[in-house]
Symmetry: C2
Subunit: 363 residues, 2 copies
Amino acid sequence: MFEELSSKPAAWLSGAGPQAGIVLSSRVRLARNLLRCKFPPAADVELRRKVVGEVRSAIERSILLKSGKFFQNGDLGGMDRDFLVERHVISPEFMKAGEGHGLYLGEDESLSVMVNEEDHLRIQALTSGLEVGRAHELATQADAELSANLVFDYDEEFGYLTACPTNVGTGLRASVLIHLPALVLTREIDSVINRVTKVGWAVRGFYGEGTDVLGNLLQLSNQTTLGRSEQEVLEGLEKVTRQVIEYEESARYVLLRDAKEQIEDKIWRAYGILRFARVLTSGEVMNLLSAVRLGLGMGVLKEIPLGLVNELLLLCQPAHLQKFAGREMEPGERDAVRAELARARIEKALSGGANGPGNSKTA
Amino acid sequence: MFEELSSKPAAWLSGAGPQAGIVLSSRVRLARNLLRCKFPPAADVELRRKVVGEVRSAIERSILLKSGKFFQNGDLGGMDRDFLVERHVISPEFMKAGEGHGLYLGEDESLSVMVNEEDHLRIQALTSGLEVGRAHELATQADAELSANLVFDYDEEFGYLTACPTNVGTGLRASVLIHLPALVLTREIDSVINRVTKVGWAVRGFYGEGTDVLGNLLQLSNQTTLGRSEQEVLEGLEKVTRQVIEYEESARYVLLRDAKEQIEDKIWRAYGILRFARVLTSGEVMNLLSAVRLGLGMGVLKEIPLGLVNELLLLCQPAHLQKFAGREMEPGERDAVRAELARARIEKALSGGANGPGNSKTA
């Protein structure tokens, strides 16, 4: 499964959106539940299967969603699930326990729907760069089309009802994936995270709650869904993101002013190692790509496109590597294949073919 | 002084001699003193000046030595002296204290004569690779031509008399500069050094007695000059060197067999950093060049010629860098210029011009 995707970046990683130098992607997720139907954690397999069936048929009748694919538990192996987690399409726990789950995945992955995750539906839209509004439009359009054939559990006072109280209300979670290497280097990151959290935003690592700050990538998102309109959340997220971008940009300015040589050295060494190393761990590659990404943003380095760096962030993850190699691999073997892939992709970009499949085995 | 040499490698670093993959150079030094004349440490300035004059006139009448240049104290500044120390032409203390010293430097630096170092004459020949015999021929020929116009202090029983008893006899010191990275990586180096020292050979760092083992470079030389014929010393050194080469080669074999990926990774990373770093300390550059040199020897890497790596070992030293830049520099500035020089030279070699002056300021 997903062999055709394994060497292809998701559209939201194209590096083409607004502010894409610092903001990798924007995401909007809507939680919806069917009226008079137990929430998935409380439902038995039969009920969950029924819900999957109803949602699937609503998806098939939707115009926006008809070009994608629908998967059920049996369709996906463990590696497929890991692969989708790496692509930010599903949550790590989704589809792991029991039958009766479904997944809709749109053609370019900008739209997806998890069926029977914590809620009956989790509609998700992902866009490149800082485009929370556009992501929201996409998700809302999908929501509207689906609600034509599904009746959602909606309370006049509370709004959409959800399995977890933190999602009640709009059911909306909006987030951005943001790259803050200069704030990490100048050691201002903790103070920035504090300020952002204090005004009500959640800050998480690359893969959501509880994950490490790998590659200096953070997710900013709203904490609450009750008592704030969708518009307030979206505008608030955009505003706080622009503020964090400003902090990051001034940290970059300070680095260039006070430690130009050291920062350039760090960037170019990272580039040199990516181009030539024979062994790269998952953690190291994230940090090297982060440094090169910073170099592109600061104009220090121009050799490779931003999209390739984003792409490698994804393709160098374990499940992607194993899909790429066509077999399961031990971590040690993955480290060699990861280095090979990074070399091959960069060589390809340097020789003028950045957008090809890059599955050449030589570098 | 020496501006024309500062971006040029010495002939003995060409990488063209036998076993040049492991042995950088061979050196033979003959200590000679004039009959009935106090040794330099005991001589006053007037006497030292007289000796310089006599030796200089003998050099000018020699056929072999007439193409070089002769320098006296006033000719050389501190940086010039450091430069010559880096080129292995003079000893670190030479010409530092008092007047009355001289230096003959042959055109391609394969022959040189220090006048009034510890002895009146130190005739030195340097050749590329393992060619102790050829170095000895050169030094002996110079010795013979000089002795036509100088009377050396020679005792029928003891041989040549010298200021320090360790040089009495043949006055010969023969040495090789050898690169042993695999023995260092496999941690066998100490045991090899022990074996070599036990059978009577001295082992020193790159810059002679008491210097660090920078860049995994060691000097092997004879300890004594009394009671062993020149032939015994030369053959013995060649034999022990061939033995050490074998140890190094089998350590390389073991590395490729047991840790191929790790060693290739180390080599390629070193190459990547040399190609792109913006800051390189003197110690780091030696270790990076050592790894790349190992890569060339093991056939892991073929991008640049061995001669360039040898050349960079020399050109990246502090006095060479300052000569190259045409000004004195603080260590921090040197680190940036060193990285720039390494990049420029490697780029030049990659674009097909390895032998040019490489003084381009862009990389």
